[in-house]
């Protein structure tokens, strides 16, 4: 009898909970509906980690206040982003706005942009959009995306001047000097280089960022690779770079946990003085200083170039994370409104003022850039400049994460540098053949 009473009570309480749940839900829906009809809709923005800064989310809040359109940011871990995005796009379930790396060629081969994104050529911001950025987000003369990333600077090696001075180290001018500096730091109990491999993308820059140096050392390499007249595996310089990077990993210069380290922790680890170097955008120094809790100032950090192959050519990276409106979006007009909002002069200035990693954006809206003295001095110190390989070589950027995975296999001695390069060539061939590229 007692059990029966307990059972009846439980059934009653569960029924009440279900009814209450339904009632609450329908209440929310009603409220939401009323709000929607009064103010607007919700747009979804899907992007990889680190592509949407807090300052942009702040702009999203202001946008909602002004227009009533809510912005739902869906941030995906970097190592899973592209797979997830393409799965969504390929299955016809894309978000209203999706993030993607610009690059006029890759937009077609990687993102099928003509099918997956809307033509934005008639949008007001296109008039003052930087020409190079416009070119890199356009296909057949139609603008498909808005680059919302500081493409005016790139990733460089950031180093802790204090730690270098304490260990009598100079800025390395060659790879052997860099290795020697790493060894000195390691001997002094400092982990030389914060190399986050956990995200799957950061370590690939060692290989791709020195495009200008490759061009200097191997004449016509860009044309030859793009026209399938040579391969990565056939070119000795590529092998040498992989061997050099692998050497750094094997000698312990990346620390013990580099395979699980993540880029988002870079500021913390450099700010703590536990690591002496890493690779980041010029503007990230402010983040490191903030994480150091007063231990360092911006003057305590400087830059030099990726040192592999004794690199002395400044890397330029005109492409960057951009925003595209999904062709199947039911909220296309609201999404266009959002892009128009974030590319206004005030919004751009707000990004520059509030996000240390953004010193400028590729729009001529009358904003004031925020290049630090150190950055300007560094950028002006180079005569030679070259475009990074992920922007200049066909079918390279789309396999960025796969290269990263193969490089990890190299670090753990599962693959040789030759096999990594062959993997790159094979994937390029697969994509080129699938795309019907006549050169393949």
């Amino acid at each position: 009898m007692k059990k029966r009473i307990v059972a009846v009570c439980m059934i009653l309480s569960m029924t009440a909970a279900v009814i209450a749940g339904c009632s609450n839900k329908s209440g929310e829906a009603d409220n939401g509906e009323k709000k929607d009809s009064k103010k607007g809709k919700t747009i979804s923005i899907m992007a990889s980690q680190d592509w949407v800064y807090d300052a942009e989310m702040e702009l999203g809040k202001q946008f909602e206040e002004e227009t009533g359109i809510k912005v739902d940011y869906q941030i995906v871990p970097a190592d899973q982003y592209y797979n997830l995005l393409m799965t969504k796009l390929n299955s016809g379930e894309g978000p209203d706005i999706f993030g993607g790396q610009s690059g006029s060629f890759d937009l077609v081969s990687q993102y099928k942009i003509q099918d997956n994104a809307m033509d934005l050529s008639d949008q007001p911001w296109v008039e003052y959009y930087d020409e190079f950025a416009k070119e890199q987000t356009s296909v057949d003369g139609k603008v498909y995306g808005a680059t919302f990333y500081d493409t005016t600077t790139d990733y460089y090696i950031v180093y802790n001047k204090k730690l270098f001075q304490e260990n009598n180290l100079e800025v390395p001018k060659s790879f052997s000097e860099f290795e020697s500096a790493c060894q000195t730091l390691l001997d002094a109990g400092i982990t030389p280089f914060y190399q986050p491999v956990g995200d799957g993308w950061h370590h690939v820059m060692w290989f791709c960022e020195i495009g200008g140096k490759y061009e200097e050392l191997v004449p016509n390499i860009v044309d030859d690779l793009n026209n399938n007249k040579t391969t990565f595996a056939e070119t000795n310089e590529f092998k040498k770079v992989l061997e050099q990077v692998n050497g750094l990993a094997q000698k312990g210069y990346f620390g013990d946990n580099y395979l699980s380290d993540e880029f988002s922790d870079m500021g913390t680890y450099l700010g703590s003085g536990e690591f002496a170097m890493s690779a980041c955008k010029a503007g990230a120094i402010a983040e490191i200083v903030a994480a150091s809790e007063g231990a360092y100032t911006e003057e305590d950090f400087g830059f030099f170039l990726y040192p592999v192959l004794d690199n002395d050519v400044l890397n330029e990276h005109p492409c960057g994370p951009s925003r595209f409106i999904y062709s199947g979006s039911e909220n296309a007009e609201e999404a266009k409104q959002y892009l128009e909002y974030i590319t206004k002069k005030d919004s751009i200035q707000s990004m520059i003022d509030n996000e240390p990693r953004v010193e400028n954006l590729p729009y001529d809206a009358g904003q004031t850039p925020a290049y630090s003295e150190e950055t300007e001095k560094f950028l002006e110190s180079f005569d030679k400049r070259g475009v990074v390989f992920q922007d200049s070589i066909k079918y390279l950027n789309p396999q960025w994460m796969e290269i990263g995975q193969d490089m990890v296999s190299m670090f753990i001695e599962d693959m040789t540098p030759e096999q990594v390069l062959k993997g790159i060539d094979d994937r390029r061939a697969t994509q080129a053949e699938a795309a019907g590229d006549e050169a393949w």
């Binding site: 190592d79 799965t87 013990d256 946990n257 699980s260 995975q405 990890v408 599962d414 795309a435 019907g436």
Partner: protein, 291 residues
């Protein structure tokens, strides 16, 4: 035999039609596409014969390694989950104190979403800040700390360990039901004859539990062959390709727009599963008596 059937065959027609439309036809279409060059890069779909299959079984590609990983995962997790599940079921089908509480606790992990389990364990197994290494350091066992998910030697073991933790309770529950269904008179008779606990298990519990064990083993094997989500969340196939399994490879091929290669791997796995499932049921139910 036919006369003993209660219902005519056409009572199952609706279910058969639905199953055919939703499972069989897409499956056949999928197998058909694995003989083409279907991709996101071209609107044309051309017949390419066995090219995709050659690639899957080529020593130059990594797929053989992924097949090996998938089979290893299936074997280890099936044996471990079934073994541990059986031990727990035997322990918790007795009159132990608070047995319902223990059963609930053991079953709990299987209720959790794989995604949540993966995210929680990613945090627990972090080499620098994870709970497990912190605990080992805290009790003076620093030498036992590991890079659980990034050390190539143990990453796959960690993934399998998490799956065993998650799935054992489920197997235990099924086996408890099987054990409780065994009539008590057998045990009473055995006790009168002076049989020991082990003898009772060997001669009564195990033989009568075989059909249930067969079901759990087949379920585990099929789950193992299809594993994707846990590997994807914990390691995404890494470090390198050390923990890559067939369905993480399918996912990567599909998301790269190489649909035909993706469907080829799925077709290969489908054939594997049919063959393995068929033989396992045959073997495991060989001595089963239908009353």
């Amino acid at each position: 035999m036919k006369k003993s059937k209660l219902y005519p065959w056409y009572f199952a027609l609706g279910a058969i039609l639905l199953y055919t439309a939703l499972c069989v036809v897409p499956g056949i279409i999928g197998i058909g596409y694995s003989f083409t060059d279907w991709s996101a890069y071209s609107k044309e779909v051309n017949f390419v014969g066995l090219d995709n299959f050659k690639k899957v079984f080529s020593a130059d590609d990594n797929y053989l390694g992924y097949i090996k990983n998938t089979l290893l995962f299936t074997g280890v997790t099936t044996v471990a989950k079934t073994g541990l599940g059986l031990l727990l079921a035997l322990a918790l089908s007795r009159n132990v104190k608070a047995k319902n509480f223990h059963r609930g606790v053991m079953y709990m992990p299987s209720v959790l979403s794989v995604l949540i389990v993966g995210l929680v364990f990613t945090s627990i197994l972090n080499p620098k800040t994870g709970f497990l290494n912190e605990l080992l350091r805290g009790i003076g066992l620093e030498s036992f700390t590991q890079k659980w998910l990034t050390d190539p030697a143990i990453a796959f073991g960690s993934v399998m360990g998490v799956d065993i933790w998650r799935g054992t309770g489920y197997i235990m529950t099924i086996l408890i039901v099987g054990i409780l269904a065994i009539p008590n008179v057998y045990y009473e008779a055995a006790s009168i004859d002076g049989a020991s606990g082990f003898q009772k298990f060997k001669s009564i519990t195990f033989p009568m539990l075989k059909p249930t064990l067969a079901v759990t083993i087949v379920l585990n094997v099929l789950y193992g062959l299809k594993v994707f989500d846990l590997v994807y969340v914990l390691t995404n196939g890494g470090p390198g390709h050390k923990t890559e399994v067939m369905y993480t490879a399918v996912f990567k091929q599909f998301s790269q727009g190489l649909y035909a290669e993706g469907t080829t791997i799925s077709s290969v796995m489908f054939v594997f599963m049919v063959i393995i499932g068929f033989f396992m049921i045959k073997i495991l139910t060989k001595d089963e008596v239908v009353e």
